[in-house]
Symmetry: C2
Subunit: 365 residues, 2 copies
């Protein structure tokens, strides 16, 4: 394999950003690229991808089809992605042709919950207790280590609570392990947090770093319901969150925007839950409350542009519009605030259809 291509100069206006994945994140990335005078080309296997409606060109293909991927990459100046479950092999294949970020290493680490937790531990960051479950030998020890109850998860491919089970005994763990196909998993101890938060940060090709103020996040049924900035985080927690993100970005040698999901503990400590190597739902409020949104920030980073100023000029509360809630679009349209609908062809239960951001004048600098 040849060395991965690196970016020698910023992609100038008129250049083309390739985006793998055509969902709402790819859509908002394409719109951000357009704001900077860049064209976007989207690759996705779904012919009805929302991102296709707003990009300059698109390719319908499978992420495993390396021929189609190569033809696509050759038409782009740089390539990036909207979600982390693209095969690392696909990314390596693109990297031979054109700069691609985030890179295969960051993806490999964050695609595997055990590798990710080990990486965080090695970076000196706090996480929930965890135990790598690779066979049925250590079910009891795993629960002893993590506490009862704990959460059993598959190591790979889970999101929005899929591939997860709460277990309170060795037997329940055995049952969950078998139910998920006896695939390698991770047991994670429950964390008695005060609230959840996240930090959205960016790292440039030159190692430059910028992080947004951290939102407080509320989940329902494992799906993000609401992000509030400023939430209950103290000024110190807000700073700590940025430092955590900086450590992670530097240790990954990351280029682009990433999110770190955090547990804010009663004593003020922040535990890392997981890393998302992409723009993140809890950062959608940056579209209105910051001059440079997380989507533009990501495009800037992967295109070799200087990172933008992440400071807020407003307070914000972002709420997801999920499943049937989208049928009430006319009610949302009457509320003061910013409505975003993603152009998805049909409503499905649990599907993120859009989001709504309420804005208020800045209360904390």
């Amino acid at each position: 394999m040849s060395a991965a291509k690196t970016l020698d100069a910023p992609v100038p206006p008129g250049g083309t950003i390739g985006i793998l994945g055509g969902g709402q994140l790819g859509r908002m990335l394409a719109q951000a690229a357009a704001k900077l005078g860049l064209k976007s080309r989207v690759f996705c296997d779904n012919p009805k991808s929302p991102a296709f409606q707003v990009c300059d060109a698109h390719t319908i293909g499978k992420f495993e089809d390396l021929g189609a991927i190569a033809a696509f990459a050759r038409q782009c100046d740089v390539v990036t992605l909207e979600f982390e479950n693209i095969p690392a092999e696909t990314i390596e294949h693109i990297a031979d042709l054109v700069p691609v970020n985030p890179g295969a290493r960051a993806l490999r680490i964050t695609q595997d919950r055990v590798d990710e937790k080990n990486f965080l531990r090695d970076a000196g960051l706090k996480t929930a207790p965890y135990f790598s479950v690779t066979s049925d030998d250590y079910f009891e020890s795993a629960l002893l280590m993590c506490g009862e109850p704990s959460i059993f998860k598959t190591r790979r491919m889970g999101y929005d609570g899929k591939g997860q089970a709460k277990v309170a005994s060795g037997n329940e763990l055995a049952e969950a392990y078998a139910r998920f196909g006896s695939a390698p998993g991770i047991l994670e101890g429950f964390v008695d947090f005060a609230f959840e938060a996240s930090v959205i940060a960016a790292r440039g090709h030159d190692g430059s770093f910028a992080a947004y103020d951290s939102p407080e996040n509320a989940h329902e049924n494992h799906i993000l319901r609401r992000s509030t900035v400023p939430g209950r985080l103290t000024a110190k927690q807000n700073e700590d969150a940025k430092q955590i993100a900086k450590k992670i970005g530097d240790a990954l040698g990351y280029v682009g925007v990433f999110a770190v999901e955090l547990f804010a503990m009663m004593d003020g400590a922040l535990l890392v839950n997981e890393i998302a190597p992409r723009v993140h739902n809890s950062g959608h409020w940056t579209l209105e409350a910051c001059a440079v949104s997380q989507f533009e920030q990501h495009i800037r980073a992967v295109a070799g542009w200087p990172l933008g100023d992440p400071s807020r000029h407003a307070d914000a509360v972002m709420e997801n519009i999920i499943g049937e809630e989208a049928a009430h679009w006319a009610d949302y349209a009457c509320r003061p605030g910013a409505l975003h609908l993603y152009g998805k062809p049909e409503i499905r239960a649990g599907r993120k259809m859009g989001h709504f951001t309420q804005l208020a004048p800045l209360t904390r600098r």
Copy 2:
């Protein structure tokens, strides 16, 4: 001719907005439609139209080609336009097929400087003194009426100072009249204003009305250089500007966003300079400083959605990026604020290539 089609119900998410004109205004309208989950289809004669890069589908054709226009209109739920110099006949042709706004009447009036001034006078609004120049009979009286010097303009098709000449005598007027092809024109008296301003407003199908805070505008070489909100307008002038816009919108029976260019006089009075029946350069700051931008507001109005809240959550200064200034995109990218580049294929002198908006926390509610 059959009656113009009217909109019976709002265009729901997934519906299609047709946009005549593919420049930066069409581009930003298409992006605003996408934000609401609406698709956009752009019609333009320029194969390299910036709006083509961000819309769901496009048609290359001439605005006078009524067959192409009809085929285009049939694929849209509603049609709108990004600039006022589309033939009113084209709009009438579309109106037989599908609702189109702004309508032919508003276009006819604002496409003709004399009709526009007469309309404003009939609406009880103040303008500069003016004189309709239709032959060489009244050159001296025209100058007597408007003062020396005055500005002679063709009645139709002028923008950014094109088709205008400063004249200080009957002879100079005769010369300008001949130079512009002895076409009907208007002589307008100079106005000794304190500063220029504008108001961007919207009127819905139901007569609902919403206006943004008025920016103060600065021009250079007849091209908008900068819009500042809040500028030097007093709270009363800001209110007066909204009332002027409301009178105009109601008198035109207008649907959509329009701009009114104003002269703010030393004594606080506001004179109307002209009406732009479309989104306007001096309203670009609404993209960042308001939850609902002028582009989204226009899409909401023409699609039959409720108008959005026009209130600001930030102060803003918008500067155009004109001609060769766009070569310095990397410098703009380093400045804190919102950079917009329009994806135009080449830089030309005087061409609007992008804009940059600086934001600051709200200083006046």
